[in-house]
């Protein structure tokens, strides 16, 4: 019984760690994509204003 509980706890913990990693990784990747897009876009706009 106690062995089963340990196995289940390990599995639950692994599941939790993976879900947390997935959520954070998704946020970082989405944030980075938006951030770099806006950066490049703002540079492009400024250059267009400056040089036409």
């Amino acid at each position: 019984m106690s062995e089963n509980t340990t196995v289940k706890d390990d599995e639950t913990k692994k599941n939790d760690d993976q879900t947390a990693a997935l959520i954070v990784a998704q946020t970082f990747i989405a944030f980075s994509a938006i951030y770099w897009f806006l950066q490049i876009e703002s540079v492009r706009e400024l250059l267009q204003l400056a040089y036409g």
């Binding site: 599941n15 993976q18 947390a20 990693a21 970082f28 990747i29």
Partner: protein
């Protein structure tokens, strides 16, 4: 033994809460409320030993900046080697476990040097960077990077990677590379601002 939803997903809930809180603090109203109160701290940090040396002795500041860059190279090396290995890009014939475990010490040392030299530099130009949005963005990215490294990436990489969902593992590796690159890029941009 039945496990409640909260304890079964404690890390997931904590991580989600930190994300929401960070976005709220940074982009919501809270930062505006806290911001004025921090000026005193930044003014004080310029009067400390670090601040006085950094402000009056240009060569010392530049030298510490260079040490900051050397530590950045080591941090980059440890991240590129370990996350690159997880992504199957470098050291593919060395076990991922070995690369992850052995580069972690290097990461920790280089981060310690980066933080120490970073605090020194920040003290020298404290009242300038206080007004720079990119400085605060870097602090957000740095905080996110450190929390991510120690509370998400490290626990995840402690498992046998072949037993984990490969998509999650690869996304974690990509995020790690992205976040440290973002921290470094934001750091460089502080130099161009103000």
């Amino acid at each position: 033994m039945p496990v409640s939803f909260f304890s079964a997903y404690s890390r997931t809930i904590a991580a989600s809460a930190v994300i929401v809180l960070s976005i709220w603090v940074f982009y919501g109203g809270l930062s505006a409320a806290v911001y004025p109160g921090l000026l005193g701290f930044f003014e004080w940090s310029e009067t400390t030993w670090f601040g006085v040396i950094g402000k009056t002795w240009g060569a010392a500041f530049a030298f510490i900046e260079a040490i900051h860059l050397i530590a950045l190279a080591v941090l980059g090396g440890s991240i590129i080697a370990s996350d690159g290995r997880v992504l199957g890009l470098v050291l593919t014939d060395v076990s991922a476990r070995t690369v992850i475990d052995r580069t972690h010490t290097l990461f920790a040392w280089s981060l310690a040097v980066l933080l120490f030299t970073g605090v020194f530099m920040a003290c020298g130009v404290a009242t300038k960077i206080y007004y720079l949005q990119v400085f605060w963005f870097k602090m957000l990215a740095l905080g996110a990077g450190m929390l991510f490294h120690y509370f998400i990436r490290k626990p995840l990489y402690q498992y046998d990677l072949s037993e984990l969902n490969p998509v999650v593992v690869k996304m974690t590796a990509v995020s790690s590379l992205l976040v440290w690159f973002l921290v470094a890029a934001a750091g460089r941009w502080i130099g161009y601002s103000g």
